[in-house]
Symmetry: C2
Subunit: 308 residues, 2 copies
């Protein structure tokens, strides 16, 4: 078995990846994580999507929420609130250790790639997690006349605003983090995890060298649809696809990735979309795509690895 | 009542100061804090003595320990330990909020004076707390051939090493923080808190402009002996005084501050030393100097303010 390259957002991606590392040697897996959601708060560098993947692969994620560290407390945040700071981004005390270490490594002049590799090593993660870029790319949400920071839209305002446009600031200047282009080229299979196409995967694709490499790779590119029966399993993907003029469906996902996608795994609930997707030149596998237990994740990872 | 200027170390100082702010208008109190113990860990700037004073004056100190925040948890530290970091300096989760904010303010290019003023404001402290210098002065402990960082000696190794010398690195270049010299000049009374003379007050005095200003001020300079019956109330002051060739007694304290001290408040247990201290030209008040309750602190503060 050769190299497997995965594009990952947050919770949905992490659930598939925790299965994937049981199905293939984790050392053979290179994951590129979305850093469009990254932000600074209290002087700390937070990478929410990288963290979700790390915590999940390290087995310390809060299973109920899908993010944060299991059994965490929020006493530092409570104190920050008492000092007069905003506390809508829920940073747990254990969680904070990661942000403190990441910030320290960055302050020492190392890159986000290096900081992420260090943290993965400390957490005993054998898969290789790489941020999409060491240059800042920041996802901004446009809602009519409003222009929101990503976390402001996502956490503070709870995704209630209608999204009229999504911008990836810095993308045109950003270079892929070291190793990404080589990994896509060498990969046997590229996996597009079941993440929000517009908020989690598009930031990665906004770095044109990554999208171009995906178009040109010999690897078999297979995605898992995050849309089931017209609804996102978690989060606002369906609403955003609709308001951005896309079809909120497995077909809409296939269409969005059409330029590089070879195969899409869709849910049983979307079996009726099979023929439309095939017309795009994309093969289809139908299975149960919901991942509640680790067994679900392993089963779906096997499907993803076998589909051809 | 005019300005009162206090030189402060950690727990003993904080206990006197919590009484002092009940006895005089807190706005009239300027406290210079020892920053020789400051250090960096996990990229955060920690000022242990400033913190003890702040937490005590804000009414959030852990009363039993005398430092740290009451009811704090240690989950971030626990996680840092799991990531492979040393965790002998006990940073609580609520405590961390202060260090995170201080570090952020310093990173933004402000001084330690400004960061301390901001934190005091956030904590609702009306007395003015000032670090001894905005320049780094670092207390180093020499024990024979060993040369230890202060916190390494004090916390990690638990003061077990015999102290053969104490160095204040950076002192010769350090300038007093803004306002200190003016406050000593304008003060009606200067209070040397019952802190370790060699580890807590000497770092402040190591900035020669401060010591010179104390020698030249018209203010009445009154100290409270931290040594009672030949023993330090807390910490290693007695052992260090002895190994540094000083007498570990109220007399030894008076002798150490002889060049600027007008008056020393000593404990009843040390009444027999009264005459020897007077021979140094230092007046003496005898009282119960132990401060367990807030009432003890207020009573001792009244003695300090009235003695003449």
């Amino acid at each position: 078995m050769g190299l497997i390259f995965a594009l990952a957002g947050g919770v949905g991606a992490a659930r598939l990846l925790r299965g994937l590392v049981q199905v293939i040697p984790p050392e053979d897996l290179v994951i590129v994580g979305n850093t469009g959601d990254d932000f600074e708060v209290y002087g700390l560098h937070i990478s929410p999507d990288l963290d979700i993947v790390m915590y999940t692969l390290a087995g310390i994620v809060d299973e109920a929420k899908g993010w944060g560290v299991s059994g965490d407390t929020f006493n530092c945040l409570d104190m920050l609130g008492k000092l007069g700071f905003e506390t809508w981004f829920k940073l747990g005390d254990r969680d904070l250790a990661i942000h403190i270490v990441r910030t320290k490594i960055l302050e020492e002049g190392m890159t986000l790639s290096q900081a992420t590799a260090e943290l993965c090593k400390m957490l005993g993660i054998k898969a290789r997690l790489v941020p999409m870029s060491n240059d800042p790319v920041r996802t901004k949400i446009v809602s009519g006349k409003l222009r929101l920071e990503f976390q402001e839209y996502f956490v503070k305002r709870g995704t209630k605003d209608e999204v009229t446009d999504v911008l990836f600031e810095g993308a045109e200047k950003a270079k892929p983090a070291p190793g990404i282009l080589e990994a896509i080229k060498e990969a046997e299979r590229v996996v597009i995890c079941p993440s929000n196409p517009i908020l989690s995967i598009a930031p990665i694709l906004s770095i044109s060298m990554i999208r171009d490499q995906l178009r040109n790779t010999d690897a078999y590119v297979i995605g898992v649809s995050p849309i089931v029966g017209g609804k996102a399993i978690k989060g606002p993907a369906d609403r955003i696809m609709t308001s951005m003029g896309l079809e909120a469906s497995a077909y809409g996902v296939a269409k969005y990735y059409e330029d590089f996608l070879d195969h899409l795994v869709i849910d049983k609930a979307d079996e009726h979309q099979k023929d439309r997707i095939k017309e795009l030149g994309v093969k289809v596998t139908i299975t149960d795509t919901r991942m509640k237990s680790l067994e679900d994740s392993i089963r779906l990872a096997r499907v993803v690895m076998k589909a051809q």
